[in-house]
Amino acid sequence: MLPYIRGRIFILILPFRLSCKDASALLSQAQERALGPYERFRLRLHLILCNGCSNFLRQLDFIRTAFRRHRDS
């Protein structure tokens, strides 16, 4: 019973799924603008499933920190 339900839910959420290419673009844009609630939802879903993009997010924050440190030293 359970795999049947899980499979159906998976198919339901398919339209919301982002590729890594799209997710990384959104993550980058989030450095400049506020994302809308639908964008955030799709992104959060993707990040739960994707370590690569979660790592990319942390790398973005680090790059920003590094440039500011470089500027201020």
């Binding site: 290419k21 990384s24 790592n55 790398q59 590094a66 500027r71």
Partner: protein, 192 residues
């Protein structure tokens, strides 16, 4: 704090020049801009309020001079629209056809530790140089000068989408370079 003397202004020249070269990517232009800054500082030093340090005050003047120089240069070398295609191509190259990472971003562990390491900064500066000049200009306006999307788009006459594509491209190439040249080799940063 007293008015900056000639010695003070001269002392900061090296820092101002480094800052200007980083932003303008043009040593000659940077030298001109620093000269303008020091001249403006000399003329205006009676107005120095003493609330900030000399360095901060000078950097403030410098930032305005840099924006002016970029504006003048922007008029002489307008950003061409077909450049957007090469940015998009560069981004596409980082992903497979079905949108997966070609090079899966690794876990850098605690990357802030590296900020204390001189060797890291050498790699960092090298990776920063890899960007094409146009992309670098935009990246620096955003990340170093901390101008907003609106301000940058207005200065360079580009759309927000143009800007975001360029910034994304810059970040992708930077993270790839840093991972290959620095974080990828750091065994202690790699977790499962």
């Amino acid at each position: 704090m007293s008015d900056p003397g000639d010695q003070d202004l001269h002392q900061h020249r090296a820092y101002l020049l480094r800052y200007a070269i980083l932003q303008l990517r043009d040593t000659e232009l940077a030298e001109d801009v620093v000269q303008e800054t020091l001249l403006a500082a000399l003329e205006g030093r009676a107005q120095f309020s003493g609330k900030s340090s000399h360095k901060t005050w000078l950097t403030g003047i410098l930032k305005h001079k840099i924006i002016d120089a970029m504006r003048r240069r922007g008029r002489e070398q307008p950003l061409t629209t077909n450049a957007d295609e090469s940015e998009a191509d560069a981004i596409d190259a980082m992903f497979s056809r079905d949108g997966h990472w070609q090079q899966f971003p690794a876990n850098w562990g605690n990357p802030e530790k590296s900020l204390e390491d001189k060797k890291f900064w050498i790699v960092f500066e090298m990776c920063s140089q890899l960007m094409p000049p146009r992309t670098a200009r935009v990246f620096i306006m955003r990340e170093v000068m901390e101008l907003s999307t609106e301000e940058i788009c207005k200065e360079l006459s580009i759309t927000p989408t143009n800007l975001w594509v360029m910034l994304h491209r810059a970040r992708l190439s930077l993270r790839q370079c840093l991972e290959i040249k620095w974080f990828g080799n750091k065994r202690e940063n790699q977790t499962a």
